[in-house]
């Protein structure tokens, strides 16, 4: 039996092509947080293709039980030790979200444990803060589905800037398809490796509007010029990846800097899948250094979607007295972080 001052949460995540299950413990008396297990299985599609909701949901259904079993085994906890079951409520793709929520509900009934539905973005941010020790940073949340500059003020997450169309990760992933780069381990990772060898800078559109950014025009443009430039040997795929990264990341760093200047913050935290890109991290660090500030970033264990962040954010909410009744344990594809607010500040 575990001591009374320790709370344990199980977290289930499947809002996109990553299926993750994690177990976390919080020691309420000391504030210590321990990650007991963090298991992930990714739905990888052939080069040149993306992942579709139906196939992704099928992948999650197929793998959830082995992943869950392993997470519990690695954590070494008994089912009676678990205090709360946390699942991703949204935002994300409908079918994959639902396939995982069903499992969370079933476990809740089977083991008679409370449920907490967690906002995926809050999961990323709270996990990032926990791992890095950042106190009240400006957050750049960049992934395949999200691009936002967020800061916390007056009991709510506030969005200072965001993409006006597609997410930055989506832009990178779709360009990877144009070049037929493998989706293993992830298209963004392979673009990053190519970009390291790029030398020639190809000028691309640059679209910053105040603190907002737009990527769809850049993607259309590079998609249209790439075949021609490559066939005439005017540049290499590496050069294109390099130029795309330099342009997109400069936009992200610029808007983040503006938000920092606006609210007078010296800390910046990068979360989300694109956040493990080392070039983005180093550009952000250079910016922060010029301002006398500091960058916090995490590695792929926490940047890329995972179950542990859902367990962590869910457990924080649970500790503040929040649970999701079974009849309200729905999913929602559009679940803006702006809606996470009063009553259960930060943690809805």
């Amino acid at each position: 039996m575990k001591p009374n001052n320790v709370l344990i949460a199980l977290g289930l995540e499947g809002s996109a092509n990553k299926l993750g299950v994690g177990v976390i413990s919080h020691d309420v008396s000391t504030g210590a947080v321990e990650i007991l297990s963090n298991i992930r299985h990714t739905h990888i599609t052939p080069p040149g293709t993306g992942f579709l909701p139906r196939d992704t949901a099928a992948h999650h259904r197929e793998h959830i039980l082995p992943v869950l079993t392993e997470a519990l085994k690695v954590a070494g906890v008994e089912t009676e030790d678990i205090d709360v079951i946390c699942y991703t409520k949204g935002p994300g793709m409908g079918a994959p979200l639902i396939s995982v929520a069903v499992v969370a509900r079933t476990l809740s009934l089977l083991w008679n444990k409370p449920l907490v539905g967690v906002n995926h973005c809050v999961g990323h941010i709270e996990m990032g803060r926990q791992v890095t020790g950042a106190d009240n940073p400006v957050v750049l949340y960049v992934s395949g589905g999200n691009t936002q500059v967020i800061a916390y003020a007056e009991q709510r997450y506030r969005i200072f800037g965001e993409t006006l169309d597609i997410a930055v990760g989506n832009c990178l992933d779709r360009f990877a398809r144009v070049l037929n780069l493998p989706n293993d381990p992830s298209p963004g990772y392979n673009i990053e490796q190519f970009a390291k060898r790029g030398e020639k800078f190809i000028e691309l559109p640059y679209t910053v509007k105040g603190m907002d950014v737009s990527f769809s025009g850049i993607l259309s443009y590079i998609e249209s010029i790439a075949p021609d430039l490559l066939s005439r040997n005017e540049c290499t795929p590496e050069d294109l990846c390099f130029s795309l990264q330099e342009t997109l990341f400069a936009m992200l760093v610029e808007t983040t800097e503006r938000a920092m200047a606006h609210i007078g913050s010296k800390e910046v935290l990068i979360v989300g899948g694109v956040g493990c890109n080392l070039r983005l991290q180093s550009m952000m660090a250079q910016m922060a250094e010029q301002r006398g500030g500091k960058v916090f970033a995490t590695d792929e264990r926490y940047c890329i979607d995972n179950g542990i962040m859902i367990a962590h954010a869910g457990l924080l909410a649970f500790r503040s007295g929040y649970t999701t009744p079974l009849e309200e344990s729905t999913c929602t594809q559009r679940y803006n972080i702006k809606r996470c607010g009063p009553g259960f500040p930060k943690y809805l």
Partner: protein, 209 residues
Amino acid sequence: MSKNLVKQGAEARIYTTSFLTRTAIAKERFKKAYRHPTLDKKLTDRRLVQEARCLVKCRSIGIDAPAVYFVDLENRTIYMEYIEGKTVNDLLADGSKITAEESDELARKIGEALAKMHAAEMIHGDLTTSNLLIRDANNSLAIIDFGLSFITTCSIEDKAVDLYVLERTFLSTHPHAHHLFLTMLKVYGESYDSGNSITGKEKKYGWLG
């Protein structure tokens, strides 16, 4: 030529200096170490020119703004008129005594100036109460810092966002003076043909979207 640093923003450093015997502001955009040099130069040059263009355009259509003395592309610097005055931010600061009449007068000035600017299809891009000055000499309202400005093609959206950015400053920094903003919106709507459709759009924005 001696330079005194007044302010460092996200994009530029502002100095006071002298230019052909006049007191002047030198606004120097600094190099961004994180940005690829080609991209950095392209952006800086474009924004520098854009800023100078908007300042000159303001003056030519009768909006009070700093006069441009010289644009030094090589050193990424614009030399402009130094305006002696108080920012609206200072005027509204806690403890300042502003009467209801003065407040209405201020709102009217801001509303009229912004309407004139938008009628000329100019978007300021960074409207805050710190970027609005009242000249000591003649109490005229001057708009400063066109660093993020641009000329729009048609968009009601851009203009509404411009006003919305200003409203956010009022909400966060001068919550007690929100009525001033609302009076300003009314004047703006009345002094500009498509003004009311823009203020209507502006009201649709809001923290909770």
